[in-house]
């Protein structure tokens, strides 16, 4: 799998992401500066990492979403290429119009930095094939604006089409108000676009991939992506 990680000023999770991708795929990852107008040839997966691009000025992800490289990402996605956005990357994908909806300030107004649980809703997608449907995984979150909101019509479509891939839940898999720590609509942690090739998620699976991190629940996402391209090759 050839992956490319986008780098914007203020992004700070790009190296964690590159490390997780390298561990899963065995290949180096291309780091792509925001001012580039093209992605490296043969890219299979584009990752928009987390951090605070442009200091979250104006709105989270708003300025990064208008960077030159995002036109290349839009073309790549339109051709069916896989795009993964984590945390600030999810916000950037929403702002760029690649995903519907918006990430609002956490309902309790607090920046939340801890491990949470989320449920994998289905396993038949490139982004979840490393897990079983219904599996509960533990992943870190670190965000102040991860409260996913969209209009009723959009939420109905997301649910109806099975496009909510990850949902916040308790340790034993119960989706309830108590486990929905940021107030997201329908406890949404991660969604895909209509075509299913662009995923945005708030939690950081890349920070749970090695024993030393205390948990390896994030591995499934990366292993699944690598499998996807082994199968295709």
């Amino acid at each position: 799998m050839k992956s490319a990680v986008l780098v914007f000023p203020g992004i700070n999770r790009e190296r964690d992401m590159a490390r997780a991708l390298r561990l899963a795929s065995g290949n180096e990852t291309a780091m792509v500066w925001h001012a580039e107008t093209a992605l490296p040839k043969g890219t299979d997966l584009v990752v928009v990492p987390g951090g605070f691009s442009y200091g979250d000025y104006l709105r989270c992800g708003a300025i990064a979403a208008r960077a030159p490289v995002m036109d290349a990402v839009r073309d790549f996605a339109a051709k069916g290429g896989l795009v993964l956005g984590v945390c600030n990357g999810f916000q950037i994908l929403c702002e760029s119009g690649l995903l519907p909806g918006v990430l609002m300030r956490n309902a309790a107004l607090k920046f939340v930095c801890r491990d949470v649980h989320m449920k994998v809703e289905r396993s038949d997608t490139p982004f979840t094939r490393g897990y079983n449907a219904g599996q509960v995984i533990r992943v870190p979150v670190a965000h102040g604006e991860g409260n996913y909101e969209a209009d009723e019509e959009t939420l109905k479509r997301l649910e109806g089409d099975g496009r909510v891939l990850y949902r916040y839940c308790s340790a034993d898999g119960v989706v309830d108000e108590a486990s929905n720590f940021n107030g997201a609509a329908h406890s949404i942690a991660g969604i895909v676009n209509e075509r299913g090739n662009v995923l945005g998620m708030m939690p950081h699976p890349e920070n749970h991939v090695e024993e030393i991190m205390g948990c390896t629940d994030g591995r499934g996402l990366f292993a699944g992506l690598v499998q996807q391209f082994e199968k295709a090759a």
Binding site: R66, N106, A107, L109, A150
Partner: protein
Amino acid sequence: MKARVTVTLKSGILDPQGKAIEGALKSLGVDGIASVRQGKVFDIELAATDKAKAEAALKAAADKLLANTVIENYRVEVLS
């Protein structure tokens, strides 16, 4: 030419920051506050001298960047 773009949250969109400010104003004892919603104001200087052109440029700025029209409305005013 001076102009102002005001961006506000659409009605029905939850505004936790506005709520927190509203609570603070009430606890300060400021009388008669019914509700608060927070928005943004952009003061912009334009090279254009034609009002219609300036308004078109400001509208483009708001649509492309200043407002997220999924959740926000905006108003454009040419001031002088």
